[in-house]
């Protein structure tokens, strides 16, 4: 069984991840993937790089539980989450969420559910390098609002 969750410093190949996720599964008629990348601006400042910290052990457990929840809520076949940590630069990929299902609706929904959930409940923290110095990124209330659409109280922002 391929791992469902990977936390890694290295980059990932979206095509390769998707191919592995649906390999040999003839039931699959839809694959939905979300890729989060590093922007060169955030909250009005130029961002030259960012450092991503996480809580080893808890991160994997939390995301595994989110994928279990996605399977309970949506008729999906497989899901995969890859999240990078360490030093990243604008244009770099940060996170991949990919989901397979028979029809597009379920994988679109499950993919959005997973990234909304991850953003407010998985223990990652971003520190940005800006011309004014390094700063920890603030949580966004809009991320809690996004999670609330799924009936889950985020309490993060």
């Amino acid at each position: 069984m391929a791992p469902r969750v990977s936390i890694q410093t290295g980059d990932f190949d979206v095509a390769q991840e998707i191919a592995a996720l649906r390999a040999g599964d003839q039931r699959v008629g839809a694959v939905c993937a979300f890729v989060g990348t590093v922007r060169d601006r955030n909250d009005g400042a130029a961002v030259s790089s960012m450092e991503l910290e996480h809580y080893p052990g808890m991160t994997e457990k939390a995301i595994e539980a989110m994928i279990d929840e996605a399977h309970r809520r949506f008729d999906v076949y497989a899901a995969r989450v890859v999240h990078r940590v360490g030093l990243l630069q604008p244009l770099d990929q940060i996170v991949l969420v990919a989901v397979t299902s028979a029809h597009r609706g379920e994988s679109f929904q499950a993919c959005e559910f997973l990234i909304d959930y991850l953003k407010t409940q998985a223990p990652f923290w971003k520190k940005e390098e800006t011309p004014q110095g390094a700063r920890w990124v603030d949580a966004r209330v809009s991320d809690d609002t996004a999670l609330a659409r799924w009936g889950i109280e985020g309490g993060n922002g």
Binding site: G36, L52, E53, H54, Y55, G57, M58, K61, A62, H83, I94, V95, I115, L118, K119, T120, Q121, A122, P123, F124, W125, K126, K127, W136, V137, D138, A139, G155, N156, G157
Partner: protein
Amino acid sequence: MNKVRVRYFASIREAVGHGSEDVTTSAETLGALRDELIARGGAHARSMARGKAVRVALDQVMSDESQPLRDGCEVAFFPPVTGG
């Protein structure tokens, strides 16, 4: 008294100057442990003060401050998460 492993992440880790410590405490809940750490003053008081957004995990599961402490458990304090 319970002996617990306390872990800090992100801005709180930077403020207190280390990522983990073993604490022997009479606190019965996660919230009481937070208050005990705040009462030390200094960086702990500044980074974990009441009114600041601090999240807490018990044995690597997102939790709330009403949860009871157990001997040997791992408690983590950190700011709101910002991954994805």
